[in-house]
Point group: C2
Chain length 240, copies 2
């Protein structure tokens, strides 16, 4: 290998898009879209949405493009998860930079329906429970595990759970999102005390009414950043 | 470009090594090693230690190798900071995966002295105050800014500050590390109350004696993880 070729490695991007799915009456679950591969290696196996980084696009642009091409999904923001670069993670040497985002189920449904209606949607995409995945191509099982670990971890110190919620929500909605992320039940009274003490919620004057007693709606205090947005700057944002 | 060449982008690694430097009597400061470039582009400018990713090494191995080759430093653990991939961050297209670590000043001194004694140390490395850097090559000023932001941010919810401290330390040592990271003074009584309430410190039976009244030494509770160690696994760890 000549000196000028050093560092010439194939670079790919993938995305982990997490949503909270609720089947009628069942406990909500974290779900993500997968794409069945139509080419070698791992032809026929499920994989994360993704593709090659092109010369004239940033990493985040490549992640957004390949996600939109396969799933029609367009999260308002993709956060960089990790760069995976083990030597043998693919038959040829590939570094994959992985992005992730949380989407509400109603956003997923609206974007998916619009994509179907466009006539350009491929038929090899399916949503899967994050906790019961098949064996995925490459190291994608490990990547999903890491995304779920980061999600549970961030739930402890950031407002990441609100990525699953509409702008106004009840404390029960918020607790359910945390329970889904953490995979365990939380005591309602303790949960209420903790979120009220944290001071990240702003009570509204609105209530949700229905079969139960009216529940106050809350909004998140947007003075606190939702997520680590990375070293954003004019250079890192999308080029026109 | 043929299909088989898609994604062929040059991949580099860089490292941000942070230490806490104390000049006699002065306020301690965060410092990092820089390397003066001997080749184009940016010949003669200062840059982070780093180099090209080779075909047969993982990202972390490349970061550790290039750091050791230039500075002789060998942190016990390098954490991935971020993958920088803006299209115009370098004259040719380069994706840089950046790692970071905290080193104690005495570790830096011992490793640097051993490297000097080996006779292989290059003469183009210097330590700089993180808060008063010259204009660095590429987007390296932005990378350092991001590393410092992450350090300050992590100080709020993790034990990152202990990366600057020996295994046993006084509360004044710990407060000084936090003050250096955050760039502001902290009230000693409030600080003591907060760290005691957090329960991450284990008091020892040892005291530091000297010109002041004896101060109890503490250790960190190692049941809590020091840092996000990434998706570590047999595949991601170094190959033999």
């Amino acid at each position: 290998m000549t000196r000028s070729e050093r560092g010439r490695i194939r670079v790919a991007v993938s995305t982990v898009i997490l949503t909270m799915r609720r089947d009628r009456g069942a406990t909500p679950r974290v779900a993500l879209p997968l794409v069945r591969r139509t080419r070698d290696p791992f032809r026929g196996d499920w994989a994360l949405p993704g593709g090659w980084l092109d010369e004239q696009e940033s990493l985040e642009e490549a992640a957004a493009r390949t996600l939109a091409e396969t799933t029609g999904l367009a999260p308002s923001y993709l956060e960089q998860l990790y760069a995976f670069g083990a030597v043998r993670r693919s038959p040829s040497r590939v570094v994959s930079v992985v992005y992730w985002a949380l989407l509400r189920a109603d956003e997923v449904d609206a974007q998916s329906a619009a994509f179907e209606a466009s006539g350009t949607a491929p038929d090899n995409v399916a949503w899967n429970d994050a906790e019961s995945l098949p064996t995925l191509a490459f190291d994608h099982n490990r990547i999903v595990e890491y995304a779920l670990w980061r999600l549970r971890n961030k739930a402890g110190y950031s407002r990441v759970a609100q990525g699953f919620l509409p702008p106004a929500f009840t404390l029960a909605d918020l607790r359910e999102a945390y329970e889904t992320i953490l995979g365990r039940r939380l005591d309602p009274a303790n949960f209420r005390r903790q979120v009220e003490a944290a001071g990240n919620l702003i009570p509204t004057d609105e209530f949700r009414t229905g079969s139960h007693r009216p529940a106050r709606l809350y909004r998140h205090n947007t003075d606190v950043a939702l997520a680590d947005r990375g070293p954003l700057s004019p250079e890192e944002t999308r080029t026109p």
